[in-house]
Symmetry: C2
């Protein structure tokens, strides 16, 4: 999810945002308490010791694969799939060039609770920009937001939310935006864990990416999030380079400034890489159908369907967050990463479900 | 160029198309004489013996690089650049991950005269589809086109041209379109050379792609042409995989048909990857700035500017077609690949010019 607001997709964002603002537990997290509220990370349930950590991230390809996964159906399905498609002579063999794997980002590769990192970024942007916008002190919805008055923000309606999110994401050059994202992502902390957002990448999924790469796969992110919000850090965090990141984006314009070209970010949607848009985005950006894909929400189902509809052996999986103690437990009623049809239709649809509580021995690299 | 028709870009297409239809020498090529007209390929000027062919395509990386290039400033500039950015310890060294090179397609990597291959494809599509559209026998502009009456086609104006081109490119699924393109590209012949269009890839440029790849570059096509018109054959012809092809595209919609997802090509523009759109497309699709880029027309200048504006050593070149005997000679007044500013501003802009007559010893792989 990200701050672009046209048609069906923006209504969805707005609805979720509204629910998020209005619901008790989450409402308390909205600024200025966003970075204050929190479950103590000294508590036993917050950052438990890894239950199985024979492997270390650096030795993934030389040791047994997927060390942060418990033995079980999910791990077995992954290893059997990779073994089948890489064994020369196997009926399921797939040439290296066609080994494409796609991953959703929020909730699949890193934590998306209590709000998407990009939403937290958007809120922080307003606070950061406020000194350059004295008019915001008396203009809604900025006035209410800066005062921490979320009822006032909500009263400004959809248009107010649009204003808030666009204010922080557009008007600058693409190069300037990279600097803004890099600065935020290297300092902002997720409230529950009091860690950098990038520290909240799921170690089992990072291992899965590395395992696939070691077996000749080209790994892509296919996220509803902003493509230019992700690209500055995906290489470092997931070992996925910018050219293998697909996401939502806004329009940009080419301008010459002082004899040098810049691309300027405009407040207009270019592409929404969510739901059906994930299959469309894969075809636009990659032009090959993935043979494996991984998500965590109903919004990822079209990507899984597109993957599974190709010929030959395929793997499609959804991460189901079931561990409230070690991370979060949410599905049908969640304001982010809603997962209902993904559970109900798994057998009929041909995808399988990863149960974080039972399948993941360790969630994060910082857990020892 | 391709059959999408919105705003500035479609006006440009229409203007060019009009000029093409109305000009004497080209007008004679328009169907049904398209595949008939022709300069004899038995003539000495049509397919001359290579002037320097020590190297063979298969031995590019082991022998001296760029065997189909004559020694000269262009070849020297390429080799010096690659040597500088790949030498560990060099002040100009660039890590492998950042060695991105982008190439225009029509007129840079393969022949674009007398009309773009994709335009020839569009015209052939109408003839192919005519039996399924008996109404075309009495409906303009199809009636005139099928009768070979180009005045009648022109009389239908812009809207008529739009109808013609959209009819052949939309309405089918993306998978179906791949089959259509593959069938055409494996049989259609360019009129002057009486060769498959794919045989008219420029051997010096294919060698350049291979030379860059052998030196750790990731090579991309960045073309105004249709992304799904190119992807079915670029891997075989240029060794550039579909995921490294950027081009113009139309919108697609996700539909379930008989329980399986398809993407259906719609008659609406998604992205025009031409002129400024080339810089925008590079940022959208790659998210890294190229360090080298190659084009042949004024429409490629924004891509060169975007490339040259980065820090560190850069290389930007334009192919100038100067050899009417061995291929074509055209620049300022050409209906395709117009090149004027690219020549006038080369020194000030920082790009250099490849002169095909003097720089290319051999044009095509089929020349012995």
């Amino acid at each position: 999810m990200l701050p672009y607001f046209r048609g069906r997709w923006d209504r969805m964002l707005i609805e979720r945002w509204d629910r998020m603002l209005m619901k008790g537990p989450v409402r308390r997290l909205i600024p200025g308490t966003l970075l204050v509220v929190l479950l103590s990370c000294a508590s036993p349930g917050c950052a438990p010791a890894a239950q199985d950590s024979d492997g270390v991230p650096g030795s993934i390809s030389s040791a047994a694969p997927l060390p942060s996964w418990n033995d079980g159906a999910a791990k077995q399905a992954i290893i059997e799939f990779v073994t089948a498609v890489t064994a020369v002579g196997s009926a399921d063999f797939v040439p290296v060039a066609e080994r494409i794997a796609t991953f959703d980002d929020d909730g699949t590769l890193w934590v998306e609770q209590p709000i998407y990192a990009q939403i937290a970024f958007g809120l922080d942007r307003i606070r950061e920009l406020a000194p350059q916008h004295p008019e915001w002190q008396s203009t809604e919805p900025f006035k209410s937001l800066l005062e921490g008055n979320m009822e006032g923000v909500a009263a400004a309606g959809e248009q107010g939310l649009v204003q808030i999110l666009l204010a922080g994401h557009t008007g600058m050059t693409t190069d300037e935006f990279v600097g803004i994202v890099e600065s935020w992502i290297s300092t902002a902390r997720q409230p529950r864990f009091d860690r950098l957002y990038t520290e909240l990448a799921y170690l089992p999924m990072v291992e899965l990416i590395a395992y696939l790469q070691a077996n000749g796969f080209k790994t892509y992110i296919v996220s509803g999030g902003g493509i230019e919000f992700m690209r500055p850090w995906t290489e470092q965090v997931y070992n996925i380079p910018p050219e293998q990141v697909i996401g939502s984006s806004i329009k940009t314009t080419f301008e010459m400034r002082d004899g040098s070209p810049v691309l300027v970010r405009q407040p207009e949607v270019f592409f929404v890489d969510d739901k059906e848009g994930k299959a469309i985005g894969i075809q636009k950006f990659i032009g090959r159908r993935p043979i494996a894909s991984f998500g965590n929400a109903d919004a990822d189902i079209p990507m899984l369907q597109w993957t599974l509809a190709g010929e030959g052996r395929r793997l499609a999986m959804l991460v189901h967050h079931t561990d409230a103690e070690r991370e979060y437990a949410y599905d049908r009623d969640s304001h982010v990463g809603t997962l209902a049809r993904g559970l109900d239709d798994a057998a009929a649809g041909g995808w399988s479900v990863i149960d974080t509580k039972s399948d993941w021995a360790r969630f994060f690299a910082f857990e020892q």
